[in-house]
């Protein structure tokens, strides 16, 4: 008789235990799901801030002037000239490193391509500025346009 009573008591306790575990699992699942469904506000804010900061830095860089052969020339003009002249290309790389490296480490890359005989430079969209590649890719769609800004000639017209 006493054996039967003990078995029932154990069964009841076991049922409560299983129910509690199940509820805990449900709650954990709930939090996981809520995280999945929630908008990533910090990410949106970060993207926004990277975009703004990057744009300001880039425009400040392009507006800045440096001395070449005793004449002050804007970086935007140097970018235009760098396509055909090694002297300007080295100056551009030197200035770009000087300005961007302290701000963004080695994440700013300058690529001068020559898809047509026209003067055209292209700045790669990745891995620009700070943060992850995926963020930069998805948030700086205008970046290739910056390249087009300084293109002169047929290639620019095509774009």
């Amino acid at each position: 008789m006493s054996f039967k009573m003990n078995k029932k008591a154990v069964g009841k306790e076991l049922l409560y235990f299983v129910a509690t575990v199940f509820i805990i699992v449900l709650l954990v699942l709930f939090f996981l799901l809520s995280t999945f469904f929630s908008p990533d506000i910090p990410k949106i804010t970060e993207i926004s801030s990277i975009q703004k900061e990057g744009l300001i830095s880039l425009l400040a860089f392009l507006n800045s002037k440096t001395e070449v052969d005793g004449q002050n020339v804007s970086m935007a003009d140097i970018m235009r000239l760098a396509q055909a002249d090694e002297k300007y290309k080295s100056k551009l790389e030197e200035e770009s490193t000087k300005i961007f490296d302290p701000l963004y480490g080695k994440n700013v890359h300058l690529v001068l391509s020559s898809p047509s005989p026209s003067f055209y430079f292209e700045v790669l969209t990745t891995p620009y500025f700070v943060g992850e590649k995926s963020i930069i890719n998805s948030t700086l769609p205008s970046y290739p346009n910056l390249g087009i800004w300084f293109g002169i000639g047929e290639k620019w017209k095509e774009k």
Partner: protein, 274 residues
């Protein structure tokens, strides 16, 4: 019998607890996803607006840079034409690179129109090539006074697309009116060419007053030293008349398109009958 009653209550309690928890979780999850959508929409609005401001910043930079390039191109074209235009303007025949300056053909009469025409043409081309349909069709007006070019764009409405639809009823999109006007400081403006004309004629009057000998006049004219230009004068004659030929070379290089992009000194050539 008493033990069986206790077990039933336990079962009912446990099952009830699980069902209640499931219902509560469901309700919370549903309301959370609904509020998430609202937060997303709320976040999209300032984000979209910021994108519009960025769009404006980039275009402003582009427009200012275009003004700089248009100035360079206009200066090159003006120098190529000897800083004059009009039917009464003729080249100096023995050396056609020089244009004859006189009372009916000189920079005072035509430089404003010539510079503005060239500046506007280049500026318009640059703006038309901007990769945004709303902005590259924008109307603008230019006023060139002294060493400044004032550029005013008409109000452009920058609209963020696609539109955001809330609960299938309310549709909205961020919209921002862009009204750009800016001043571009010209490194060399139309005034510079008027000054050269005045300077050259004043010096010529002084030099002729000293001597009528062409060698001495030429030597005297070479004393002229305009601020932004290096100047060389030499004499020449055509059809029995004496001329002074002027070669002005800018002290700074300019960026212009002439069978490819060039970054070179500008050269202004003109002739004056003595």
């Amino acid at each position: 019998m008493e033990g069986k009653m206790i077990n039933k209550k336990g079962h009912v309690f446990a099952i009830g607890l699980v069902i209640a928890t499931l219902i509560i979780c469901g309700v919370i999850l549903y309301s959370f996803t609904q509020s998430s959508k609202k937060i997303e929409i709320a976040m999209a609005s300032p984000y979209a607006l910021q994108e519009l401001y960025d769009k404006e910043t980039k275009f402003t930079f582009y427009a200012e840079d275009s003004a700089h390039l248009a100035e360079n191109q206009a200066l090159f074209e003006v120098c190529q034409k000897g800083a004059v235009s009009g039917l009464s303007c003729k080249p100096y025949e023995p050396e056609s690179a020089y244009v004859i300056w006189n009372d009916t053909c000189n920079p005072v009469l035509s430089i404003d129109e010539l510079f503005k025409k060239s500046f506007n043409s280049s500026f318009k081309n640059f703006i038309a090539n901007y990769p945004d349909e709303t902005l590259n069709n924008a109307n603008f007006s230019t006023t060139i006074m002294g060493s400044k070019a004032d550029i005013n764009f008409d109000i452009i409405s920058l609209k963020k697309t696609p539109e955001i639809v809330i609960s299938g009823i309310l549709t909205y999109s961020a919209e921002h009116a862009y009204d750009s006007s800016f001043s571009h400081n010209l490194e060399i403006g139309p005034d510079e060419f008027r000054n050269i004309y005045s300077l050259v004629y004043a010096k010529l009057k002084e030099c002729i007053g000293r001597s009528s000998d062409m060698t001495l006049v030429t030597s005297c004219m070479n004393e002229l030293n305009p601020d932004r230009w290096g100047m060389k004068v030499h004499s020449s004659s055509s059809e029995g008349k004496n001329y002074l030929l002027f070669d002005l070379t800018s002290k700074n290089k300019f960026l212009f398109e002439n069978n490819g992009l060039k970054f070179e000194l500008l050269v202004l050539k003109f002739a004056i009958k003595v």
